[in-house]
Amino acid sequence: MSDTDLTQGSQLSEPLADRRILVMGMPRSGKTCIMQLIFEDKNPYDLMDQLIPPTMVRTAYDMISGITVYDFPGIEDLADVGGPDPEIFVGPNTSLVYVIDAQNEAGKSLAELLALIRVALAANPALPVNVFIHKIDGLSEELKMETQQGIQQRVLKNMGFESLDSSNVQFFLTTVFTETIREAMSRVSLRMVPRCDYLESLLNSFCSKSSLDKVFLLDVRSKIYLATDSSPTDPQLYQFACKTIDTIGDISMLCAGLGPERDDEVVMQRTVVTMDTNMRLFMYQVNLELSLLCLGPSAVVKQQSLLEFNAAKVAKAIRQILQ
């Protein structure tokens, strides 16, 4: 599958999309790897082997429901051209992702982050700031926690000194080797989806009406979720959901010569996976990009027709919201 048409080098002078996620960080912190993993479906091991040239211009990736993600050149390179234009942070649907390499000394990166926050919050005080503490794959459980605490404390303390409002700052531990990175990107985009509160309550009611444990509304290609019910997300369960989507894609491709996402047509795909325990997984196609993925006890999913009936109604409501 070729996704090259989704990416285009975008000149620094071009206007940015309305709904946008800005990905920034020091050179070699891992930004481009993250983009290629999520949007070009690359395998993390291949990413480690390949030599990614430094990003010279910002690159745009189209995400679902009109969100565009911009991979910026490393902060140092950006400084050469006089720092980022404060205008890019303006707007109610803008979000900043800052990537920090957890396997290296973070001092310099944190100083740059603070400088960036200063400019960004001056332009847009309500801007969500998402700090990805990245490349945690090399760290022990203990060191992970220590690193997160260290970075978190330093960022919040520094912001406190300058009386910057830190209520919109969030921290995530990520690596391209697990679904942590997709989950973090999901959490970032979740807040930017149109009428996200309504979507969440819609999924909540779907969950309780159909006695499901968990529902995701996700983009089948990138596996980013746009909405989920308000119950806590178990990272292992999400990882399992991602793997299921991959498997279904592979098997459909092998058996029928085409994946679930025929580019031009909604094929009404429904999938049921049953486990030897009291668990089932059900997927229901919403539109070209999106599917509902539901997890619940077998007994519920066994009432297949009722579940499908409910899913159809929810899917219709979602299509209306996202139009």
Binding site: Q236, L237, F240, K243, T244, T247, I248, D250, I251, S252, L254, C255, A256, L258, P260, V267, M268, Q269, R270, T271, V272, V273, T274, M275, D276, T277, M279, Q285
Partner: protein
Amino acid sequence: MGRSGAGKTSMRSVIFTNYTAHDTRRLGATIDVEHSTVQFMGDLSLNIWDCGGQHKYLDNYLNEQKENIFGNVEVLIYVFDLETTNQESEYELYDECLQNLGLYSRDAKVYCLVHKIDKILDDDMKAQTIARYERAIKKRTKGFDMEVFGTSIWDHTIYRAWSRIVYKLIPNMATIERHLRNFCELTEASEVVLFERATFLVVCHTTVDETQSLNRYMNVSQAIKDYRRTCQAVQAPFHSMEVRNRYYSIFVEPFTKSTYILVITTDPEVEPAVTKANINAARSHFVKLADNSEVLQ
């Protein structure tokens, strides 16, 4: 059989226990002979002897132990290491094994695996290398039924070889195959494939176009095996899967005690619910065929 480091234990671990190719890097050299028994398709049980390939053991097999090692052999799988530094001594060892096999198990089938074929990247080079081995081995193999496969634990080639080996071992395969074709027709499916339950090796299928389809089924098998591992990791063992849309439906279901079935329907007129009912109806019939090879021989 094969020299130390050729990949015998790796291949056994990947197929019969749920090792990934990656996991095999931790394997040490096999001490003497490792015996294992695998229950396969009902009452067929495979006794697998993994013969450690270090010199001291090989000497022993070919001398004091020869009657024990080479007696009562149904199948000899000889693993050639593509990366061998001494081709000639490799062939000499093979000759000696065949000599002994001729003495003690004249009716055995022989399969030669040109192993670690992943080390050759170029597809043409791969094919040439396998062909070269095949010519050389054929010349040395007299009086035995023998097949050569290029294999690697890093792709489906190893499953392909083993599917073939196992296919030949199941006594009533022709009957099973015929019934499977009938079932495929009755249920108006476009393809039906039977997998062995534990290993997910392809046992038999209904498609005429042999090579192309087999590769696809191998990849399906691989995908499901990987997925089973994922399911294990969340303590939710995989049971079955069904995918339906406007154009096709795919069912992966436990079938008999020893098999899984894959049914693909591409006729939109065929209701998935009917296909599913047909699978259930066929099950009891196939239980007799696949789980008890004596009934319909």
